[in-house]
């Protein structure tokens, strides 16, 4: 079908920028924030995470790479904008040495810990619509689609990217979020040096849901210890140098 269309449309019409084609997700003119992973960029409209709107990340287990998936984009936002990266009630302490290592400017990180669920929603809405946050990360419990809809509107108004971490069971229910991605842990074999994550885009602009995408982080976390027997008998191991990308340069004492 698409081949048929391609031949049917004159070439100059195709090159006109105002033309939207259902077959291409790159017709979205709003440029996204690059995820830092080529394979994911190719599947997202605007070649990256959206700059505003609600993005849902659905997963049940912590530690599968749900934040490592975001850190390249967050690092970029924190350095290019003077706005806050707001973390609303994170489940654990976002560990500053690791954030710094991921390239995030700590002076733009703001943590807010509201006590009640209604305060959490209030914080989210105010922060998103205030225009002073580049991204807002939240772990809401029991949020309904009406509330997500409000956050979506607020985030469009304030030009802020809202990231909601929700349980995988939420995938069964529709949501007004602009982008929904379900995350699955991968059982990396010991042979692979880098860890990876499987993800499935459930909802995106200008495209259908995708199948499972396997994404490699390019880190060294999975580097197995050769001849590792027992932790009792340890000898200092030569650690692999980190890849230059994950280092932070240009930091000065503020």
């Amino acid at each position: 079908m698409s081949r048929h269309l391609k031949t049917a449309l004159p070439k100059e019409l195709l090159q006109r920028t105002g033309l939207w084609r259902a077959s291409s997700i790159h017709c979205d003119f709003r440029k996204g924030v690059s995820t830092g992973f080529k394979i994911l960029d190719d599947h997202l409209p605007g070649s990256g995470w959206p700059e505003d709107g609600v993005t849902e990340l659905l997963h049940d287990q912590y530690g599968i790479g749900e934040l490592r998936l975001l850190t390249p984009a967050l690092a970029r936002l924190s350095r290019e904008q003077t706005r806050w990266l707001l973390w609303v009630s994170p489940p654990y302490i976002p560990y500053p040495p690791a954030l710094l290592k991921a390239g995030i400017d700590l002076t733009s990180v703001l943590i807010v810990k509201p006590k009640t669920a209604s305060d959490t929603l209030w914080v989210l809405e105010q922060a998103l619509s205030s225009k002073s946050c580049s991204a807002v990360l939240a772990w809401p419990r029991n949020i309904n689609s009406k509330q997500i809809r409000r956050l979506q509107v607020a985030s469009k108004k304030g030009n802020s990217w809202s990231i909601l971490f929700r349980p995988a069971s939420a995938a069964d229910h529709p949501s007004p979020a602009e982008l929904r991605v379900q995350l699955f842990a991968t059982k990396t074999s010991a042979l692979q040096k880098s860890t990876s994550i499987n993800l499935k885009i459930l909802k995106r602009r200008g495209g259908w849901a995708t199948g499972i995408i396997n994404l490699h982080f390019g880190d060294t976390l999975n580097q197995a210890i050769p001849d590792f027997q027992a932790p009792v008998k340890n000898q200092p191991q030569a650690l692999d140098k980190e890849q230059p990308d994950s280092k932070v340069d240009g930091f000065r004492l503020h």
Binding site: P96, V112, K113, S130, Q223, F251
Partner: protein, 539 residues
Amino acid sequence: MASDSTKVAGRENTGLWLCLHFKQLPVEIFSRDDCLYEAAAGALQRTAAGALQRTAAGASPTGTAVVITTRQRICYRNQVARDIGIRIGSSMDTAYTLSSEIVSFERDEEKEFSTLSYLAQWAYQFTPGVSIKAPHSLLLDIKGCLKLFGGLENLKSRIDGKLYELGYTANTGIHTTPLAALCFAEAGFAEANSIEALLSLPITCLRADEKIIESLKQMGIQNIGGLLALPMDGLSRRFGVSFADYLQRLIGEKPDPQKFISETPRFFSDITFLSDITNIQSLAFPVKRLLSEFCDFLQARQLHINQMTFKLSHRNHDPKSFTIYLASPENDAAMFLMLTQLQLDKINDMPEVDNLCLAANTFYPADSVSDDLFHNMHSLERNNSLERSNSPERNNSPERIQSKADLDRTNRLLNMFRARLGPQTCFGLSLANDHRPEKAWKTVHLNQKNYWFPENEKEDNPRPLYLLNVPQELKAIHHLPSLGGQLELTRGPERIDFGWWDGNQSARDYYIGRHPCGALYWVFSEKRSGKWFLHGIFS
């Protein structure tokens, strides 16, 4: 008043003085919120003197009759009380026969004077030369500020308008000498800045002993012109040197130095409600009014504040106060109002309110930050930097540019969070100078911004994005940690040794452990006990 800080103004031949006489001050200190409701009903008119006064004849049926008593006798009354026929000097019993809905207050001269001082501080926004003339008048040296306010008429209408917002009414008198201005204001005559007008004033306007006025009347002298036609040395012999001196100062033959108020950066203002306010939401209006006074006060002194305190009180309840903290010193009425609203929303145990007050003691000089003229340039630059950052050279990260508008928005958000959630619930993160993982970070109070960054990065080992507050002990199976499934250790160990300096020695070997489901954890085994702990999550 400290004498060293008091400026003594010398007399100039062509001085110009404006006198504000608060004739109804004893009433208005209690009833000033009342006239706002009348204003809403549109029952106002401008009198010839320029002061805004209430219309007579009960045009505002909602108004409350307020009387002020001393020793059980009525000494002051408001317009509504006058309209229903209450007279000065009659007793409260007589008043109650005329109407049962009279609110009465005992006269409070102390409060009158403190209000007058407050009004003097308020008048400081118009001119630096403000002097208090007890009991109910203020003198403003307006010669130097006419040009700033665009002429006498503009200045007068501006003062009237602002006074009306405050809820006070005043008669205005303008003349070349302070005493003459005072005479005009107290007489309530339309001011006329000429010596003829002064000469035609009746002698009852003079601020002199009643005996003198009486004997002058018996001499057949009706106005000041007649009085001044008499020889001065004769008057001085007959009525005393001080009276002659007064007359000479009145007509400007003798200098009349005034004691100007010294500027005290302290703010306190309150509103008393005639009827109890039971709904906290309806405080919004008086709050707005206090805040606009406050902002004028700050504006006139070029000051900013970072905290202010509201106090709600009622005669039958314990007073309740709340303090509003700001992220940085500011003067922004709209934001103050919003933050106050947030605090008011939280109050639920105050059934009634009859007095609202606002106070601030700590002030900061306003930094004169000007907004940039080429505001759009910043967004342009930002876009450029966005393009640039695609290139590999990340070392020279673009200079962070933050315009005032951005800063305002940022502070606004912080202020809102603090006002609703409390000051401790939002914070930033920083590294700390310690090699122990749990101490290698700290929270940053956003007022202090005490971020710490290492001079040179030496840490190359992986660190998890999540850290557990307290390490969680794990079960060990065959000397390997387990958390709902045996963890496979993939990377490590990294030895972290501490406590050797205080005898609390402990050594930990950190590993990355992989859960069967694929999640990565940061675990350590304590050397001494051999126990396993979970300390972080590579999320």
